[in-house]
């Protein structure tokens, strides 16, 4: 099933409010879903027998400076088709429902996105950092991230011995 058909099915189920289909010349087409309806959309995409998205490939976060996005790559092993869902989030308060109740594999994906970008996934069973130490300050992949100078007494920079820009 191609993305246009998937979009129409989704539109018929959820209504067209806030739903948008993007088909850029380069890259995968994507469907933007309003954050409040995300979990409903995911439940439908998984349970509908013609869509049968049984596999959540990846959850990623994007910082676009004026907004944030949480992106979901779905795949159906039964139907051999895929789709990309996007949710636009407020950069000052990035929050969205967790899809962990729908696909268990969302657990670590969402933890990673929380760790590196600070997106909070509501209803997640264990939303703690997964890569950085638990007491790390800030979210490293945010565009305005400033790294702390020391971590537990370890400097986070090293002078360049040949006088270039310090690492």
């Amino acid at each position: 099933m191609d993305v246009r058909e998937i979009f129409q099915r989704l539109e018929a189920k959820l209504g067209s409010v806030g739903l948008a289909l993007a088909q850029p010349a380069a890259g995968d087409p994507s469907i933007t879903v309003p954050a409040a309806r995300l979990r409903d959309a995911c439940r439908f995409l998984k349970s509908d027998p013609d869509l049968a998205f049984d596999y959540l490939r990846c959850v990623s976060g994007v910082d676009l400076k004026d907004r944030m996005e949480s992106v979901y790559h779905l795949f159906s092993t039964q139907r051999s088709h895929g789709v990309v869902l996007k949710v636009v989030l407020d950069r000052g308060n990035p929050e969205v429902d967790s899809v962990e109740p729908v696909w268990k594999s969302a657990n670590w994906f969402e933890r990673e996105s929380f760790d590196l970008l600070g997106i909070r996934y509501l209803g997640h069973s264990n939303l703690v950092r997964v890569m950085m130490p638990g007491d790390w300050v800030g979210h490293p992949l945010r565009k305005d991230y400033v790294e702390q100078e020391h971590y537990h007494g370890i400097p986070t920079t090293r002078p360049d011995p040949v006088g270039g820009e310090d690492a």
């Binding site: 950085m132 991230y145 400097p155 090293r158």
Partner: protein, 163 residues
Amino acid sequence: MSSDARVLTTRVDWLLNWGRWNSLWYLLFGTACCGIELMQTGGPRADVDRFGAVPRAVPRQSDLMIVAGAVTYKMAERVRLLYDQMPEPKYVIAMGSCANCGGLFTRSYSVVKGVDLVIPVDIYLPGCAPRPEALTDAILKIQKKIQSERWVAKRRPLLHGRA
């Protein structure tokens, strides 16, 4: 050697050092891809066993720590813990660019910019990853260093005010 050739005389320092440099047991510990080269070095082709360097699974039995690979801030605490558990006198080889200065991950947010910011390092071994021959040479250099030392337990200076 005495004239009847049955008594061997030597310096106690030298004898103890001879024992130490020929039984340089290293901690079986790899933090990233350099660990693969470390395993190669212990394998039959490079075979550092012939220099008395054998891997130990426990820091309390080890004389040498080979930090093989990038050390993250999360791992740095564990590296420090393992180092602290090793008995004096102890030696450290920083193996590969990442352990030396952060290497490939110099601009990264999660990798320590050189393991010498966490523990004192004796030999910096460049390479990405260094070949087993290079690591063998580093171990021989540690042996050279031991040969020049007096057998007196010497405490390392504190780093960043931590024991």
